[in-house]
Point group: C2
């Protein structure tokens, strides 16, 4: 699951990071490098590297003569994939999932519009393939197969937009989609209307119809919002 698991450093990070994002230490709490090193049974060097990384994520602040103070949640780098994963694994997962879904609803329609203008022929083909894969797995409780193509679909859209910032959200969207399937309510087969919308988006992009791609994608994200009982804008 976690990609930092390599080495002692990664292990400590994957323990301490989630603790902080879960709110185990209230903002302003002070941690001492030495104490942490003792607790995790690692050397101070390793602990310092962990603190540096947590600092770069703005989860903590290290100051001389004071210690390592935990920062308030509003300071955190909530776009850091690590932080996102930690928060999704924690107690306020539902809240986090809502935030991310709202973000999706803002970004994906615009990305789809751009994709309709900038997608390469190859990307168009990929998109169609993904949509067809979704259709093929839309019945008979083939949720895993459906999820796979769904994640790929949205990733292609975001990448094909040609915008760095959008492309980087592919992982985030994938995480949200996976969460919906694995942890949350996904009783039955996916909504047929949603499947159709994906096929139509692929069409619109292929036909370079930016406005239609944007509009259709907006319908998809509105559906995602409604699934979480979020009032559609």
């Amino acid at each position: 699951m976690s990609n930092t698991g390599r080495g002692l450093h990664g292990h400590v990070l994957d323990t301490l990071g989630p603790e902080i994002t879960a709110g185990a230490y209230p903002p302003g709490s002070v941690l001492r490098t030495d104490e942490l090193a003792q607790r995790f049974e690692v050397s101070r060097s390793v602990m310092r590297e962990v603190v540096r990384v947590l600092e770069s994520m703005r989860l903590v602040e290290s100051r001389r003569r004071v210690g390592v103070t935990v920062r308030p949640a509003c300071d955190w780098n909530v776009y850091d994939p690590q932080v996102i994963r930690w928060r999704l694994a924690g107690a306020d997962r539902p809240r986090q999932l809502r935030s991310l879904t709202v973000l999706r609803s803002a970004v994906e329609p615009v990305a789809a519009g751009l994709a309709a203008r900038n997608a390469t022929a190859e990307q168009c083909a990929e998109l169609t393939e993904c949509a067809l894969g979704m259709v093929a797995n839309s019945r008979g409780h083939r949720l895993e197969g459906y999820l796979f193509h769904d994640m790929a679909f949205h990733r292609v859209i975001l990448t094909a937009s040609g915008n760095d910032m959008f492309a980087r959200l592919g992982d985030v969207v994938a995480e949200v989609l996976a969460g919906r399937t694995h942890h949350d309510v996904m009783f039955d087969d996916p909504d047929p209307a949603a499947v159709t919308l994906h096929v139509q988006v692929a069409e619109a992009v292929r036909e370079r119809d930016a406005a239609r791609a944007e509009k259709l994608t907006r319908e998809i994200t509105v559906g995602a919002l409604q699934e979480l009982d979020i009032l559609a804008p």
Copy 2:
């Protein structure tokens, strides 16, 4: 300027980070910790901490027996404020500015709509104050005063949306706005139409008119796109 400047560690990071984001080392290049430590005249410990942070930003990957390899740009954590600052300071600043402005155009309208629903009375007041500040500084080459209130305005909107992910983009938007004023074309006084739009957005939020707030904000961001000669979606 840079907030990491504290300590040797920060200094090295602020030198090596921009080099990497500027593309000084092609993807796949291998750096050796020891050599870097020599070059910056710091100990291996400090260098290791720097590498760890760069690794958490996904700028590099550290592997045994191989060294520190530079990752392709598509892997970078482009939402990390540090990375954003480094890229904005580098050669492909214009490209980066475009990416960020497109992101703004996707996010801010939705955020404004949410703000109209969720803003506290205090936030509404702040918003109005910012808008008035913009008006007051809109004539007579008071660019700095205008910028100050403009940044504050957008930050309040993003915060008032009540969405973690949106709120965190306040710094990014501020950076973009500051860039436009300081580095790029901002010859004369700001466009009066834009100033009016900000005032109207403040009104709409105060009156809880989400649809109007969203629409007006979309007009603001379309203007920002046009300034950079980006085709409005």
